[in-house]
Symmetry: D2
Subunit: 340 residues, 4 copies
């Protein structure tokens, strides 16, 4: 166990944020962002809301996230169409201001831990009319009759997700929506984009570091949409949505002007694109990964392009949101030994 922690620490201590973050060497101050302190959650990500917290680079924040339905779906008899009113879904904590963050910088968000909140915690999964990958939607407009509305309440603990009497899934928590503010736009929390947003990437859980572009003073970090687990693509439109206590450590990397979010884990790095159609999300992710390998890992552009054709790894985040999200990654072992 000790060895494992040491090993985990090892990669963190060699991570991008450890090498470049202005506050990583500091002893972190710990902040709480409880439901009470948050007060009004946010449904749109932008520069027009009041900060709820200001932290220094390197600080730790324990955040109480609400589930994507803000707790409105309490039993399996609750129909989403009765309980939810668009666009007031996917509530976000924040904005959290990071001191010193300015446009042209990046912030790092290391997710340290995610725990279910409340007694007898359950996650919620539901089929929402005109939402999901295998139904006509508001955008892929059809005239077919809708799918049924179904709600599932699923017991969740830090080991497993008891999907059904038959199927038990491992607890694989991650943050679905993580954002900095756009410069002048304010984007609903359902939509991912170059600011992050509703990416729904299963990789974005404990042990991950996400890098986001700073486009407004203080970065204005938003976080929410915890999932106890999620399959690639989030095909029915929802994961096992739950209220979490999520511990993050944030830091600031000066003068790292990202076009799109990037992610790092112990064994790989990943660039993230969000767009429609899905091939464009994938193009964005792979191009950004190539430019990253070129700029910071000493690969030639065409060598990186052709090499990723042999060893690139693609993760489908979601193909149900207003934009779809794809991560394109490469194992660190293929790029080790080079400066980052």
């Amino acid at each position: 166990m000790e060895v494992e922690v040491a090993r985990a620490n090892h990669w963190i201590s060699n991570s991008i944020v450890a090498r470049r973050g202005v506050g990583w060497a500091r002893k972190p101050r710990v902040h709480k962002l409880t439901e009470e302190m948050q007060g009004q959650y946010h449904y749109t990500i932008g520069p027009y809301s009041e900060p709820v917290l200001t932290v220094e680079p390197g600080d730790r924040i324990v955040v109480e996230t609400r589930d994507a339905f803000e707790g409105a779906i309490r039993t399996e008899r609750d129909k989403p169409s009765r309980r939810l009113r668009m666009p007031f879904v996917n509530p976000q904590n924040g904005p959290i201001m990071i001191e010193g963050a300015e446009p042209g910088d990046a912030i790092a968000v290391h997710i340290e831990r995610m725990r279910p909140r409340g007694e007898d915690p359950h996650g919620t999964c539901c089929m929402i009319p005109q939402f999901g990958a295998l139904t006509g939607t508001a955008l892929t407009a059809t005239l077919n009759p809708p799918l049924p509305e179904i709600t599932r309440k699923v017991p969740v603990n830090e080991k497993e997700v008891r999907w059904s009497a038959r199927v038990v899934l491992p607890y694989a928590p991650h943050i679905g929506t993580l954002s900095t503010s756009p410069e002048i736009d304010s984007i609903n929390s359902l939509t991912p984009g170059s600011h992050g947003g509703n990416m729904d990437l299963p990789d974005m859980g404990p042990g991950s570091i996400t890098y986001l572009p700073v486009r407004s003073p203080g970065a204005r970090l938003f976080i929410g949409d915890a999932h106890a687990c999620q399959g690639d693509g989030e095909v029915c439109g929802t994961a096992v949505e739950y209220a979490s206590e999520t511990t993050i450590r944030v830091d600031l990397i000066k003068n790292w002007a990202l076009e799109w979010p990037r992610l790092e884990r112990e064994d790989f790095i990943m660039a993230i694109g969000s767009a429609r159609p899905l091939e464009d999300a994938t193009r964005i992710a792979y191009r950004d990964l190539i430019l990253w390998l070129e700029a910071e890992y000493g690969f030639g552009r065409w060598d990186a392009y052709m090499m990723l054709s042999q060893c690139g790894r693609v993760r489908l985040g979601n193909f149900v949101d207003p934009n779809y999200t794809v991560g394109a990654g490469i194992l660190k072992k293929y790029i080790d030994g080079e400066t980052g």
Copy 2:
């Protein structure tokens, strides 16, 4: 001439706005919205900006729009990449508040006249790096070298657009970007959506009435992006962009909850969808047209669907913006004699 005006008046007097608008029968009060009165133009459409004008339903407004580059591209030697800074393009007049407009209503915008402004008026067309339909872009990400940056300054008057020594095009003015505010989001003026936005529909010129959904109190109308002419799809990314004096008359239709913008001209009605991929924009437009024919023109849903398969008309607005825009229409002569 008199006869023509009478005939033109005839269709207007039978239009949807004439039948349902709360202020159409009023003698319109005329407002001016000059550059000076506007002051700061807007680059994002939302509920967070200060109104510049409040009007009553039925009022007329003479608006001084700036060109999409806000005049920054003055000569054919000006390169867009040097003169423009994203997202500060496509400046919008507004927001204009319409008294009495509440969520669930629609507003009508009748474009009466569009004139070039300034002495020796010229329009501007340019090829912007990574923008346009036949180039890799920020979303359709490629690694190819960019296209050249080219700027054209084109003489414009109320009769014609002198494209080149060889080609003279008719003056066919229209408004590229027309919006009401989303409920909580603020969307950059380059992106069309269900709130209107940067639709780039050549039909949206003098003689057209556009109906937009009201999603925030007062509707918050934004207008800009005048084009002296534009081909279907705006293939290179820009039209003949010019500074205009645009005269509109606005009205309010209570309790007409639109999902997407709609448009009316003398001879047809049109529903408008904006999305990616392009087939989704077309699906949205056709579905909304069918639902409209069903709800207000006495057609059965499947009769409307099959009939539009025989006589529907599609206009491609743009396929260069962050969403693409399509209008689906039907000639009024096929739906006449029914109540609207």
Copy 3:
């Protein structure tokens, strides 16, 4: 009337085929291709079928086409799912061999006339399960319940299409599927592509000349899928499908290596692309039009690109087939006076 014919003749005599076709000046020999002579109709377009007719460039052919359902849907009570068996739909006449046609050439197909066949001719329109633009399909796979199956039989004559008691549409006949053979593939007749195929372009009627690439010896022309009328996009999946007597004149243009089909009418030229998603079909069409204006009409590439952004015209053929079809055109008056 005489004047009109003379005028019509005028444009034909200046058309591309009149200027370049090897057989246009010849007095055409007239061939018949009746149902009996055709025998087995074809459901796939390729090099593996037996020719039914060989003609010389400049010859005229009177073709008896079957409707897209091969007559299997006889009454409004016939359900498509019971009467049709995939892939045996959209029967094609041909292949017709054009003497002297070799890979690298193009053939021209001038549609001269289209008449309904049979006594009391009716067209057929139907909603086919999992087919059409506003339903989940085999490719846009959803889990929604299907739309109803509905069949409409519609009286057709050379003046009008009596859609319903309420709506009468003009007779606007055109050929939905026109093809040469691919080099080695054989493509079902439902799918359009660079060989032509199921383009469903309303412009492809009497008064049009379609140019198709020759990719196998003799070109191997296939023709079928007559529509009495069709809206842009063929939204429900079918037009007013009818059995026609279609008169065409074919010719051969040597050494005109087309990438994609092209079309000419009295007042415009059009390039045609077929692909998914729909923006790719539009990109193909516009790029081919630009390259055409550059190669044969003396326009600079970037001038053509930017000019089409001001005056290009887009026609949506279909967005229901396995590939979608778009035509991008320009009025001849803007390109006149140049050599073709």
Copy 4:
């Protein structure tokens, strides 16, 4: 080692083919399909070519595949545009007839082993003009200048692929193109579809069983396009293409009418969709997986849909071919204990 083999045998003996294949219990007869026996390789998959071999269900075949360029690219100085002529690429062995296979059945292809052929075997990877995910292409038509043409020759052995002095990749062989014949079409070997085709799925290597629909008598199996390794999406357009000796065992499952290919490995099952845009390929794969879980594993449809939203796994085969390919899978441990 013995234990490992036994364990491997264990899953095979419980696989779908072992339980349902008509010939699996037989002692396999071994066939060779050498280059000489193949003679003319095929570039199109259809019912019009001459069989090269007929086998009984359960037989083993050792196939000599050629690389995707048919050996024409010999050195790193060879430019693809000079050496290749479309559509004569991606040569396929076959067709191999499986005795007793009839439309409505499925065949199983168990890939047992893949070895590089020749002395000092090298794989080839190249950047081909207008081909690949991060360039304008014939379908995503742009006007940008092309990418450079680059050829890489890479040493390959049964342990590793020596990509460069810096990067050594594990040997992870798989078959890129595996097909049965369509009913009447003949589809070029570059295009994947419901018949299989050019799927480029890294999972389709030794240890996999692929199930393909039978649509013509004898199934007409085609195989080719061996890759020594490939990243998700095959982003530059080519993998490490090499000439292989591939050993497969084929079998026949009667009355298993597949809509799309399916795949089985020791730990998961996968449904495979190929279409454009990429979300449609993903929709196809997930829908087919749901229908499979419902029909054969005792899951309710909506339970399967919602469960896959929590534990489904997506593999991007390619997003560079005329259709894109996606596999959607689920771990067997979640579905065990049910009848297949």
